[in-house]
């Protein structure tokens, strides 16, 4: 101990490295985060969901339009159109576009802002034509043969000058002249609210129910799980339908209906986890030290089964969004004029033949959101529990 030979104190050569101290092993949380960030689709999904939430809850305030204001004169406006321009004798140019499905002309400016419906002369029902006056020029809209043509007095046809985006109504308007973009954002708000709140309700009921069943075991467990089995014999959607019939449609009742049914999956998962964990030594230790069952459950068992719980939670959100839109689609969801993705889709189906663009936005929105939550769920499952990944 005392004799340390002098050469031990000698300086090391400059290029010799000391054996590096291994960095502390990453914690579970760090590992999860690393694996999640490495999963590109999941990261993109998180970004998408965050943007969607921001847009849904703040977007409507930025728009000059409201979700309920109707303007029948400007109904069924498309999001982009081919503009025409007519110059009269005084050199005044009027820009407008033709809505090919209802044969109306709408005046627009050069940037694509909507100025209003153009008033035409008397419609000639038999010849299927309508004259429009622009100063000294008369333009005739001839829709006897499709596609409709715009003809000047001298017989020359007016050609479109180019495509333009609708700057006033970015996504166009619906059959009652309401702005589709704002309705879409409100729909997102409602769909997301229903999904998050209902999922939270499911989470609490499911964790509580499954936790008790798993921890108590024996007869209590058998009876509680028999009840779950009876509930899940028929599709959960059917219960939601029945509850909606009883509650009558509305935002709160759809949250209650979804929240009171979909906890059975969560209860099953939690029970399974608890059953596996409760024979662990640390639970026995806690019990020996006199911890109450409630404390063991909330402090020891549930934190250790957090992985599967979170995965189930993220999988519950898309199914809640889906059920809500499904209910709204069959007319059991939110009450008009409120919009949700389901009711927007079903409204769009009514005008599908003439205005297919109205279907595109809600359909794309719900599909993208479902994608995002599915990818996020898959990513979280892989990150939280690598053994489960396929």
């Amino acid at each position: 101990m005392t004799d340390i030979s002098p050469e031990m104190w000698a300086k090391l050569p400059a290029d010799e490295k000391a054996t590096p101290v291994p960095p502390p092993a990453p914690t579970y949380g760090q590992e999860v985060r690393r694996r999640l960030w490495a999963n590109k689709p999941a990261v993109v999904s998180i970004v998408f969901i965050v943007l969607l939430v921001i847009a849904a809850f703040f977007g409507p305030y930025l728009s000059p339009h409201t979700y309920y204001k109707q303007d029948l004169k400007l109904a069924n406006i498309p999001p982009f159109f081919e503009t025409y321009a007519v110059t009269d004798g005084a050199g005044e140019t009027t820009r407008f576009f033709l809505n090919a499905s209802n044969f109306n002309l709408y005046e627009v400016d050069a940037e694509g802002n909507m100025l209003g419906l153009l008033r035409g002369g008397r419609k000639d029902i038999i010849k299927k034509s309508q004259p429009y006056e622009f100063g000294d020029q008369t333009l005739t809209l001839d829709y006897s043969k499709l596609p409709a043509r715009l003809v000047l007095e001298d017989g020359s046809e007016v050609r479109p000058t180019g495509w333009a985006w609708n700057k006033t109504y970015l996504f166009g308007t619906d059959q009652l002249g309401r702005d589709i973009l704002v309705r879409q954002l409100y729909g997102a708000q409602i769909s997301l609210t229903v999904a998050f709140v209902a999922t939270l309700v499911n989470f609490f009921i499911g964790v509580f129910y499954g936790g008790i069943a798993g921890y108590m075991g024996g007869k209590v467990d058998a009876v509680m799980m028999r009840i779950v089995e009876i509930i899940s014999t028929i599709p959960l959607t059917l219960y939601v339908v029945l509850l909606m019939v009883v509650f009558d449609s509305g935002l709160v009742s759809i949250i209650i209906a979804i929240g009171s049914v979909f906890w059975v999956d969560m209860a099953r998962i939690v029970r399974g986890q608890i059953l596996g964990l409760k024979s662990q030594d640390y639970v026995a230790a806690a019990r020996t030290m006199g911890a109450s069952p409630a404390r063991i459950l909330t402090r020891h068992l549930l934190p250790n089964s957090i992985g599967p719980i979170i995965v189930t939670l993220t999988m519950l959100i898309p199914s809640a969004i889906f059920i809500e839109s499904f209910m709204s689609f069959i007319g059991l969801g939110v009450t008009p004029p409120l919009a949700s993705w389901g009711s927007l889709t079903s409204e769009a189906v009514e005008t599908l033949r003439a205005y297919p663009h109205q279907l595109f936005f809600p359909a794309a929105a719900i599909s993208l959101t479902m994608f995002a939550f599915n990818f996020l769920g898959d990513g979280l499952r892989d990150a939280l529990d690598p053994r489960l990944s396929r």
Binding site: T233, I234, L243, V245, S346, A363, S367
Partner: protein
């Protein structure tokens, strides 16, 4: 085997009773009676109607009557369409729903399984990525979106199929496609992952080492062992095809039970809602029982008695 089936049937009856009770009291919790409408009925007529349908009795007596009728497979009269019984409503809708539903199940098995096998055998090559990409699409897109978009593309734009109805054999394409889309995707994903797992097993190596033909290895050793999870989901598949049919039959205007159900919801025809729910529950439980029996037949290692515990 027989005791197992009897056991299960007994359990089914208990479940069915629970569902009947639940729907009965739920439907009676709805404010307003079945004859409340914009046109006020004279009190005498209302009383006569209530007496005719036994609605003047105390609720427990109505409940017992209802239970008694259900035991004789009589779901009672519709409150919205005089003279129409729920049984005849179901009988009218059943063939349509059965046809589309069966075709959808066939599609799920006949397309989902082979697609999954192709994906698994070509792991990480283009057939796999293509199938998995489509399957990811199919799992995320709601059925009503598939239905409406495919109506627009195939019926309105291309004009290959009619937009609604089943008068033409081509009319079946879109409803069946929309109904089964999700489950084809789901089953192909499941088959792929399950087959990949099986392909790694030692007995597969043994079979190859014995010099068995490739097809034989795949079918006898690989597929048979990896199809068990697929069979397990077939029960839920049937269940979800039934609920899926609410929307699909609505969109395609098919006169099936799903459409009847949605119609009776919008009409607030409470006896019809109750009757169809109970009918659904009974059919589903029967289906799940059949799937469980099929399961045992496929894999004799599974003990029936364990399944009840």
């Amino acid at each position: 085997m027989l005791t197992y089936i009897l056991n299960r049937l007994g359990m089914m009856l208990v479940t069915l009773w629970a569902i009947v009770t639940l729907t009965f009291f739920l439907m009676h919790a709805v404010p307003g009676g079945p004859f409340v409408s914009e046109r006020m009925l004279a009190p005498e007529i209302a009383a006569a109607l209530n007496a005719k349908y036994g609605l003047n009795l105390p609720i427990w007596e109505q409940y017992l009557n209802y239970l008694g009728r259900i035991l004789t497979f009589d779901l009672g009269p519709s409150f919205k369409y005089p003279g129409v019984s729920i049984n005849s409503m179901i009988a009218a809708g059943l063939p349509v729903t059965l046809q589309t539903g069966l075709l959808a199940v066939i599609c799920v098995v006949a397309l989902g399984v082979p697609l999954g096998v192709i994906a698994a055998l070509n792991r990480n090559r283009w057939p796999d990525t293509t199938v998995m990409f489509i399957a990811t699409l199919g799992v995320a897109i709601p059925s009503y979106v598939i239905a409406t978009v495919s109506i627009y593309v195939f019926a309105l734009r291309l004009g290959w199929v009619p937009t609604f109805g089943l008068d033409d054999w081509r009319g079946y394409f879109l409803p069946v496609f929309a109904l089964s889309g999700f489950w084809i995707s789901f089953v192909s994903r499941l088959t792929r992952s399950s087959l990949l797992e099986t392909l790694d097993q030692d007995y597969m190596t043994t079979a190859r080492a014995k010099g068995l033909r490739k097809g034989q290895i795949l079918i006898k050793h690989g597929l048979r062992n990896s199809l068990l999870p697929v069979v397990t989901v077939l029960g839920p598949v049937v269940a979800n095809l039934i609920t899926g049919s609410f929307v699909i039959e609505q969109i395609f205007a098919l006169p099936g039970i799903g459409r009847q159900f949605v119609l009776s919801i919008t009409n607030r025809d409470y006896t019809a809602i109750m009757g169809i729910t109970i009918f659904y529950a009974a059919v589903l439980m029967l289906m799940i029982l059949i799937v469980d029996l099929l399961y045992v037949w496929l894999d004799p290692r599974i003990k029936l008695t364990k399944a009840t515990a």
